[in-house]
């Protein structure tokens, strides 16, 4: 099965051959590296930029204005903060110009902890991103969804922020992408650049097919009756594993992968909460004005009389960063044990 990084690469290849992608660019995105996570190896439209995040976003906006279809990358979301005003311009151009212009661009950026990335390779960004209007914001938790969400992002005529959980970049999927070879060694030989000299290497792309994950459509990863767990990205994987463990103890959790953070699938979440009466949102962004707090507020408004216990949020601690030593990360970012404790506590709570 393809890894999440390979899935992104396959989607970009499909995008530049079938969906009109004109440019895949960013720091180290072009050859020889093809992206720090290898997501853009072998692409015909990939090119390297100056190490200039504002220039990357501004140029993407210009390309979009001139009829191109750019997919730009900020190498880590930790370095996107100096682009906030540009992200706002991308998101408000259609509204501020009274519908005259629109901005068909995709901005990719790896997010989150889980790779011993220290203070500046571990940030989460979805909560801040959700305050920047006019963007669709997605985060996959597996390779097939990464492929399908990225194709939807490329095909969309509005700006889309594609956040890839860096802790999952090497994680293999458990479902084939349409057109993906069943033998993962074959896929490796076809599309992974060799170590060392790559100057004469060319990928042998498999015939991947059109597959879209619609925006705003959550996926029920595990059905359950006792509580609803809403998550996305790397934390979704942890939540699903914990839910499986707790089932042996008689706690039957329903786990939803939001996939699209904005616009999020309110209907699916509300339906699940109305069934279970309990909600736990799990993410690793810092907890103050966390996107999960918005989910809790909406659920409280819409499902108040169905709730059996106060809705809960398990998020990153409100500290300035994720420290390098494992003790810092373990005690500031949700881990399987803290997720399990939160699920047990919620299952036992009564309103």
């Amino acid at each position: 099965m393809a890894t999440l990084a390979q899935a992104i690469r396959l989607a970009l290849h499909y995008g530049e051959t079938h969906l009109g992608v004109t440019d895949v660019f960013g720091q180290d995105v072009g050859p020889p590296l093809g992206g720090v996570f290898t997501c853009s190896q072998g692409l015909k439209t990939a090119w390297n930029t100056p190490l200039d995040e504002r220039g990357i976003v501004g140029t993407a906006l210009g390309i979009a204005y001139a009829g191109g279809k750019p997919v730009a990358e900020i190498q880590f979301c930790d370095y996107i903060y100096n682009c906030i005003d540009l992200l706002k311009l991308c998101g408000n151009a259609h509204w501020s110009s009274a519908g005259e212009y629109h901005v068909p661009l995709v901005l990719m950026t790896p997010v989150g902890a889980g790779i011993h990335g220290s203070m500046y390779h571990s940030h989460s960004f979805e909560s801040i991103a959700s305050h920047i209007q006019g963007w669709t914001i997605v985060m996959p938790s597996n390779a097939k969804d990464a492929y399908g969400l990225l194709l939807s992002a490329i095909a969309d005529p509005n700006p889309v922020l594609f956040m890839a959980p860096k802790g999952l970049m090497r994680a293999k999927g458990d479902e084939l992408i349409p057109g993906e070879p069943a033998d993962e060694r074959q896929l490796h030989q076809m599309i992974d650049a060799p170590v060392g000299d790559r100057s004469h290497w060319q990928p042998d792309w498999p015939p991947v097919e059109d597959y879209r994950v619609p925006f705003g459509q959550a996926r029920t990863v595990r059905a359950g009756r006792d509580l609803t767990v809403v998550s996305y990205g790397r934390q979704l994987v942890q939540c699903a594993a914990v839910a499986l463990d707790l089932a042996a103890d008689g706690i039957d959790a329903e786990v939803l992968d939001l996939r699209t953070i904005y616009p999020w699938d309110e209907a699916a979440v509300f339906a699940s909460v109305r069934k279970t009466g309990r909600l736990l949102v799990v993410n690793e962004d810092t907890e103050i004005t966390n996107f999960g707090e918005h989910v809790l507020r909406r659920v409280t408004d819409a499902c108040f009389y169905d709730l059996l216990a106060p809705p809960q949020l398990l998020a990153g601690l409100d500290v300035p960063g994720v420290g390098l030593a494992w003790g810092y990360e373990k005690h500031s970012v949700p881990q399987p044990d803290t997720i399990a404790a939160a699920m047990r506590a919620l299952a036992a709570l009564r309103a």
């Binding site: 009109g20 004109t22 440019d23 930029t49 100056p50 200039d52 504002r54 220039g55 976003v57 501004g58 140029t59 993407a60 906006l61 210009g62 390309i63 979009a64 204005y65 001139a66 009829g67 191109g68 279809k69 750019p70 005003d85 540009l86 311009l89 151009a93 259609h94 509204w95 501020s96 110009s97 009274a98 519908g99 005259e100 212009y101 629109h102 901005v103 068909p104 209007q133 006019g134 095909a155 005529p157 509005n158």
Partner: protein, 355 residues
């Protein structure tokens, strides 16, 4: 004398006749000759812009608008630039990344003053933003005028993107970006020069810096140690020049030279235009008249001295535009304002892809 400029009709998708019709790809760009008729037309366009701006200020003072910001003092080079733009839609034509003192540019291109009045009053008929943005924040897709933003200097970052598409397209289209001297302190100014000069990927970007000596209320000389901003381009080996932006004839020739280079060499050019700021930064500082050289007055004296116009003829030009603006104001004040039903319009684009 009646206005003879093309009308920008926003009610349809008509692509207006471009100023220049491109010939074969190897043909030289040929600007119009700056003959006597065109010199008189430049004056007409400068007055069109000045009269419009002064009407906007009056509107602000009489309760017909919340806030004014604009470009009195930038009419000379602005009118010349507007006439020299290769006007049309798509990468074959020029892209314009303008700052909010660019009324003379778009009015010389053919915009109607009434549309600026609409944006000043924030009517729902404002074609540039439907009453959402300050005046002089244009967005004119048929002419490649991308949305003007209040964020200082971000327009410089977008120009390499449109220029990249023009480099691929071929032809003579270039990306023109304007800004002020204060904004050049932002790193975005340097980003634009860097992105436009990547070895082997040089881009057709014409960067204009209007040096009026102020950044809002701060004198530029107290915060920037560069008397001639265009020389910063030397560090990027970008061809550059400086011109008296209060002189439309000198500005015309400087722009022609710069554009000819950018269009045919497909490389960037930085042009510093020294000009006045006649009504301050905005209405936040009162929008009162400042005692600085007035490019319109200077040019009128020159036209008379050169025998190209009489005082009577010049007065007729002012009367024409002031009369048109007075009539336009009567129309605008009767037009509807945005309401609840307009708030959610245009949050998302749902049409076909591609700009």
């Amino acid at each position: 004398m009646q206005p003879t400029l093309p009308v920008h009709n926003r009610s349809d998708d008509t692509v207006l006749t471009p100023t220049f019709v491109p010939g074969p790809s190897d043909a030289r760009w040929m600007p119009p000759a700056l003959d006597a008729a065109l010199q008189v037309r430049l004056h007409d366009l400068m007055v069109k812009a000045r009269a419009t701006e002064e009407m906007l200020i009056r509107m602000m003072r009489t309760g017909h608008g919340y806030f004014w910001i604009g470009g009195p003092g930038e009419e000379a080079y602005g009118a010349a630039l507007g006439l020299l733009v290769h006007k049309g839609h798509g990468p074959a034509y020029d892209y314009l990344h303008l700052h909010y003192r660019s009324s003379a540019v778009v009015l010389a291109m053919g915009s109607e003053p009434i549309d600026l009045l609409r944006q000043m009053r924030s009517t729902v008929t404002d074609p540039y933003s439907k009453g959402r943005n300050f005046v002089n924040h244009f967005a004119i897709k048929p002419w490649n005028v991308v949305p003007v933003t209040p964020t200082i200097e971000t327009q410089y970052l977008m120009a390499p993107g449109t220029a990249l598409m023009q480099r691929r397209h071929g032809g003579i289209g270039c990306s023109i970006v304007t800004g002020g001297d204060a904004g050049s302190a932002e790193g975005d100014f340097y980003s634009a020069m860097n992105w436009s000069t990547r070895p082997g990927s040089e881009l057709p970007v014409l960067m204009l810096v209007a040096q009026n000596g102020y950044g809002i209320s701060t004198e530029a000389s107290t915060v920037q140690n560069t008397p001639h901003l265009h020389q910063r381009a030397d560090g990027f080996r970008i061809r550059n020049a400086r011109v008296d932006g209060n002189d439309p004839i000198a500005s015309w020739h400087a722009l022609v030279e710069a554009m000819d280079y950018v269009r045919h060499e497909r490389k960037p050019f930085v042009l510093q235009v020294n000009c006045s700021r006649l009504y301050g930064h905005s209405s936040s500082s009162g929008a009162n008249r400042h005692d600085e050289p007035d490019c319109v007055q200077l040019y009128e004296k020159r036209l008379v001295d050169d025998g190209l116009a009489t005082q009577t003829e010049l007065k007729l030009v002012w009367d024409k535009w002031n009369s048109l603006l007075s009539d336009a104001l009567k129309v605008v004040v009767a037009e509807p304002m945005p309401g609840k039903e307009h708030v959610l319009q245009h949050v998302w684009y749902r049409g076909p892809a591609g700009n």
